[in-house]
């Protein structure tokens, strides 16, 4: 029963991590650039939820579309300010510009909200359902459901619509996509918007159970980076599975030992994967993309 309880907690955390990693890998594929501001976008989404809650005194689920829309707009701004002017420069330029955006977001949040941890409202309620000996917090179930819905929606758009085909073509070969009439710059803007919206959703989902501070993004970008490395650099399903795996690992090891030990073991495992299987779990699929 304890293992099942840990599984639910791990999947809930992993579902939110998956959204962070998904947004990260979509931008990575579309631009070949690592968006180091992704973790700070998660923080921004959480604090948006915190700020909007008194204005919209309804369950957190009502805030979700508001956060998604505002974060998508922030993603567009990020692309226009920190990516498009530098897209033809060496990749390190974009790394630095996204780090700069992240620092601006952190400091902006510290000025507006202060350094104290804050909690966003629960999506539906903060009761705990009892099922046999299992305690199921409503928020955990809501996180799993909302993340699954958003990831499913992303998969549907990418797999079944012309917009999704254009986004995938842009990610696979931007020059050839242009030669097929795809407006590549617009697709990159859309990708940044989706990536930031995913981060914002994760921020809102996490900010109730795990709280949010202006510096919370640093840990989350590392988690996204690890998830994408574990799953296979550039693999979308790999990023989602990688995020679930690291959350289950984190929750499992924390429960037996401690959170610091879990984090240490996580980074040791990352090093082992980099050495022993640098292509990640879904590396074969990545190779085929090229």
């Amino acid at each position: 029963m304890a293992a099942l309880q840990l599984l639910v907690n791990g999947v809930a955390l992993g579902a939110a991590y998956a959204l962070v990693a998904l947004g990260f890998v979509l931008v990575l594929n579309a631009t070949a650039a690592v968006n180091f501001a992704q973790g700070d976008l998660v923080m921004a989404g959480g604090l948006l939820g915190v700020a909007a809650a008194p204005l919209i005194p309804l369950p957190g689920i009502v805030l979700l579309p508001v956060v998604l829309a505002l974060m998508a707009a922030l993603g567009l701004l990020l692309a226009v300010v920190a990516y498009l002017p530098l897209r033809n420069r060496p990749p390190v330029s974009v790394f630095i510009s996204t780090i700069a955006v992240g620092i601006i977001l952190q400091n902006g949040a510290a000025i507006l909200f202060g350094p104290e941890p804050r909690a966003a409202p629960p999506l539906f309620g903060d009761d705990t359902l009892r099922l046999g000996g299992l305690a199921l917090p409503e928020q955990s179930l809501a996180i799993i459901a909302v993340a699954a819905l958003l990831i499913g929606a992303q998969q549907w758009v990418f797999g079944r619509t012309q917009l999704g085909r254009r986004l995938r073509a842009t990610a696979q070969d931007p020059e050839m996509a242009r030669a097929c009439g795809v407006p590549v710059t617009a697709m990159i803007l859309v990708t940044f918007a989706i990536g930031a919206a995913c981060a914002g959703a994760a921020g809102l989902l996490l900010a109730n159970r795990y709280f949010v501070t202006p510096t919370a993004g640093g840990d989350l970008i590392l988690k996204a980076y690890i998830a994408v490395t574990v799953g296979g650099w550039g693999s979308v399903p790999g990023a989602v599975v990688g995020a679930l795996l690291i959350a289950l690992f984190e929750v499992g090891v924390s429960s037996v030992l401690s959170y610091p030990v879990a984090l240490g073991a996580l980074y040791a495992t990352l090093l082992a994967i980099l050495v022993l299987r640098p292509q990640g779990l879904f590396g074969e699929a990545v190779r085929r993309r090229g």
Binding site: Q162, R165, R166, R168, A169, Q172, D173, E175, M176, A177, R178, A179, C180, G181, V182, P183, V184, A285, R288, R289, G290
Partner: protein, 232 residues
């Protein structure tokens, strides 16, 4: 015939080095023109310049309108299709998605265009759900050609369509090119295999070191001029 594509004094290249030096030529509506020359003659660069994939100086006009300043995707939307050297299909996408992504029409018309491509290349219809990386080289070339047709081009730019294919597959690809040309699409065909290109085009332009050295009906081109374009 009035010129569909008009190229006047175009120079283009990579990183400051010009691979084309003042090239001028025209392609009329419905005409097939072979672009011949050795490796490095500038054939691929010329096709890329027309599409805006490399920066070019000089004048490029399509259907009377200046292409200068237009993005690649805007040129494609005006009716220029492109089949690149090496196929460059989207490997992680299915055959059908590779075709659909290049469709510029509304969904229903796009589906009809896919069916037209499948009628031209039945092999692709049989593999419509397969990822493009699973296809053979010949099938990928057919997919690349079919993808270019999805934009309903009036001018098709073909870069080395027989490269890396067995003679039998190259014959099939050229049969399809003749079919496309016969349906009224103008074709500018860059090809190293002179014999194959000249069998498909009534007119040829010979390039050497980025310059046009001969331009005329295939029947009027001397064997010596063709040999010179390839071997100098």
């Amino acid at each position: 015939m009035s010129a569909l594509l008009s190229i006047t004094g175009v120079s283009a290249g990579y990183g400051g080095a010009d691979a084309l030096d003042g090239v001028s030529l025209t392609v009329a509506a419905g005409e097939t023109v072979a672009l011949l020359g050795a490796n490095g003659a500038g054939k691929s660069t010329l096709l890329k310049a027309v599409l805006g994939l490399v920066p070019a100086r000089g004048e490029l006009r399509f259907d009377g309108a200046d292409l200068g300043g237009l993005a690649t995707e805007a040129r494609v939307r005006r009716g220029i299709g492109y089949v690149p050297e090496g196929r460059r299909v989207f490997p992680g996408m299915s055959v059908r998605d590779n075709l659909e992504v290049a469709g510029l029409a509304a969904a229903r018309d796009r589906a009809e265009d896919v069916e037209r491509v499948f009628a031209l290349f039945p092999d692709l219809a049989r593999k419509s759900r397969d990822s493009a990386w699973r296809l053979s080289g010949g099938q990928q070339q057919m997919l690349s050609l079919g993808r270019a047709l999805m934009g309903r081009p009036r001018l098709l730019l073909l870069d080395e369509p027989s490269l890396g294919l067995s003679p039998k597959l190259a014959d099939e690809v050229f049969a399809a090119i003749r079919h496309i040309a016969a349906a009224g699409t103008a074709v500018l065909l860059a090809e190293q295999s002179a014999a194959r290109a000249l069998s498909a085009a009534p007119r040829a332009v010979l390039l050497r070191l980025g310059r046009v050295v001969a331009d005329g009906p295939v029947a009027a081109l001397s064997e010596e001029a063709v040999r010179d374009a390839f071997f100098g």
